[in-house]
């Protein structure tokens, strides 16, 4: 909501270098592998999407909720606050911030339903007031900075300018959805992620055909091409891990992970 991204709290307060991010993540996830961290990222991002679909909310709100979730757990562990509770809370708050509030009871009920559908092992023994209380922890952790910028709007703007076809717009859009299963949002501004998603979708679409017009277009952009390639690389790593990702195993893995943290304290 700031006049531009560069004046926003997201740029001024929530952007890290790749090195800083790696160090922070390492601090409380020392005992799990990169692959497992990636699985956890995929898992919780998926759950937010499932909950979002049940509540019929827009993709941007789902993305905002995912960013809230990440902002909370970058400084806290799953042992501090149950990730399932935090996940419902993030969705509840993101809806309010985006002016399409849902009753807290509805978010609570749909969360229960999503978790129950996934596995009977997930214990969601909270009531409505726990979500309200958890909201204040989340707000405090984010220091009450609530506005989040996403690559979607950038994509829509660019697509309009370069008259992108509908299928490639959709393909790029889903790649952007996938970026929320990584920590890219902490490292790159939304427009870099949007351009990288376009780049990747074009490669997938056209293979190795050379396309001088497109080359010139990317060359003329005021975006560091090395950043774009880094994002693409991170996405390829994500897809590599994703091949062996198995959702049914996740509830177990999460409980085991939380138990490990508890034991290490």
């Amino acid at each position: 909501m700031a006049a531009n991204y560069w004046e926003s709290s997201q740029f001024q307060r929530f952007l890290l270098t790749r090195y800083e991010l790696a160090e922070i993540i390492h601090r409380h996830t020392a005992q799990v592998s990169l692959r497992e961290i990636s699985y956890l990222n995929i898992y919780f991002a998926n759950l937010i999407v499932l909950l979002g679909k049940r509540l019929r909310i827009r993709q941007e709100i789902i993305a905002t909720a995912t960013v809230y979730f990440k902002r909370f757990y970058i400084n806290n562990t799953f042992y501090d606050i149950d990730p399932y509770l935090m996940l419902s809370t993030c969705v509840y708050l993101a809806c309010k911030v985006d002016e399409c509030p849902h009753h807290i009871k509805q978010v609570w009920g749909e969360s229960k339903a999503v978790f129950a559908e996934l596995s009977s092992d997930i214990r969601f023994l909270y009531d409505v007031s726990d979500i309200a209380e958890c909201e204040s922890y989340l707000l405090e952790e984010m220091k009450f900075y609530l506005v989040v910028y996403h690559p979607y709007q950038v994509l829509i703007d660019i697509a309009d300018k370069v008259s992108m076809t509908k299928p490639s717009l959709q393909a790029t859009w889903s790649i952007i959805n996938d970026t929320y299963k990584t920590d890219l949002v902490f490292i790159y501004p939304p427009h870099v992620i949007a351009v990288a998603a376009m780049f990747l979708s074009r490669i997938i679409d056209q293979g190795h055909q050379s396309d001088t017009e497109a080359q010139q277009w990317y060359a003329d952009l005021n975006v560091e091409i090395t950043d774009v390639l880094q994002v693409v690389n991170d996405l390829l790593v994500l897809y590599e891990y994703w091949k062996d990702y198995s959702e049914p195993n996740m509830p177990d893995m999460v409980s085991k992970y939380i138990a490990d943290i508890a034991a290490s304290l």
Partner: protein, 374 residues
């Protein structure tokens, strides 16, 4: 750097923030908030601490508080109230705001003060600059009125009370027409538009401009429907030329024909450039209304006299803190909208999330859909 610098819970950071301020005395209390005079313990800076009561702790922060925090955390402008810090204490949210002890309503009402044309120009310029910044950030204020313009001790005027503010610009998303205090509510809102722009704030600003000249509210309607009649009496009933699509209103939406009175009859003594700008702020067709940026470029601000130095503007002797609470005699409907639980708001602003065609039937016929600014 916010992240990672402290491997502790936000709760502890919050406690640190809280310990930076001490409350000194209570300035005022409303149903929604209590305002304290406070001080930063190290810098000694005087601040206002607005403690928002959580009416219903079971649903967390209410929409009004969410909107205010969300907007003020991102806005930075000399003519917008500064949110210095936020912390929560038990179930209450505390907003640490810059301390402003006066509002424009108190200034207008103090009949011992004489306004010079240059004074009015100065207030309006500061108000428009603040509003222009909000609109550039794609934010609608939606509750502009004299007691939401606060005045600092150095005379700077600042927009405050962002409890109804929201972002705009996405034509696919409906917004509620039940917003803005009635006397300052634009005609498209009174007719139920759910898709509107910064023009609603400009209309309110035009009403405030008129109020500065008249020293009394310009369009004091006694009910929502009466408000339209009040507007038509003051501005003439609009014709198809004034507002294309007007004739397509369904039966029952025929209004008595009032002739358009000359501005100069009511506002004698006001200069032509002032009345010219006010007229452009109070046009019926929202698409024709001047924008804040255009208004600032108008002849009125370029012509003599120069706006008064803010420090030299007239101000009442007695200080009024009520404005910070934003509580006075608010219409019940608007207050409800402001403070209701989040879920009740479902009926107000867009909730479907992906409705393509959300204009209500009246608004649709009226062609209130304004091309979104590029």
């Amino acid at each position: 750097m916010e992240l990672g610098s402290k491997p502790i819970l936000g709760e502890e950071i919050n406690k640190e923030t809280e310990s930076l301020y001490k409350k000194e005395k209570k300035l005022g209390e409303g149903t929604y908030a209590v305002v304290y005079l406070g001080r930063h313990v190290k810098t000694e800076r005087t601040v206002a601490i607005k403690k928002i009561k959580l009416g219903n702790a079971r649903s967390g922060l209410d929409m009004s508080a969410i909107r205010e925090v969300k907007a003020l955390r991102e806005l930075r402008h000399p003519n917008v109230i500064e949110l210095i810090d936020v912390f929560s204490h038990k179930a209450n949210l505390n907003l640490v705001l810059e301390f402003l002890d006066m509002d424009l309503e108190a200034v207008i009402k103090d009949k011992s003060l004489v306004f010079m044309p240059a004074d009015i120009k100065s207030w309006l310029m500061m108000a428009l600059r603040g509003l222009d910044h909000c609109h550039k950030c794609w934010l609608l204020h939606r509750d502009l009125k004299p007691n939401n313009f606060l005045i600092a001790s150095d005379g700077q005027l600042k927009l405050a009370d962002f409890g109804l503010a929201r972002e705009f610009g996405d034509v696919r998303r409906a917004m509620t027409s039940q917003t803005v205090t009635r006397w300052y509510r634009a005609p498209e809102l009174l007719l139920g538009a759910t898709n509107y722009t910064g023009a609603v704030d400009i209309w309110a600003m035009g009403c405030v401009f008129a109020e500065l000249l008249l020293r009394a509210p310009y369009l004091p309607g006694d009910s929502d429907l009466g408000q339209l009649t009040t507007i038509f009496k003051a501005r003439g009933t609009p014709t198809e030329d004034d507002w294309p699509g007007l004739n397509k209103l369904p039966m029952g939406f025929k209004f008595e024909n009032h002739p358009r009175p000359q501005f100069s009859e009511l506002f004698h003594g006001a200069s032509d450039d002032a009345l010219g700008l006010m007229n452009r702020m109070l046009l019926f067709n929202p698409a024709d209304r001047v924008t804040a940026a255009e208004a600032l470029q108008s002849d009125y601000f370029a012509n003599h006299p120069r706006p008064t130095d803010p420090a030299k503007l007239p101000r009442p002797k007695q200080n009024i803190a009520g404005a910070l609470i934003g509580e006075e005699e608010e219409e019940p409907a608007l207050r409800k909208r402001r403070h209701q639980d989040a879920f009740e708001d479902v009926f107000a602003d867009d909730n479907s999330g992906h409705s393509e065609n959300t204009l209500d039937p009246v608004a649709k016929r009226m062609d209130l859909r304004i091309p979104s600014p590029a």
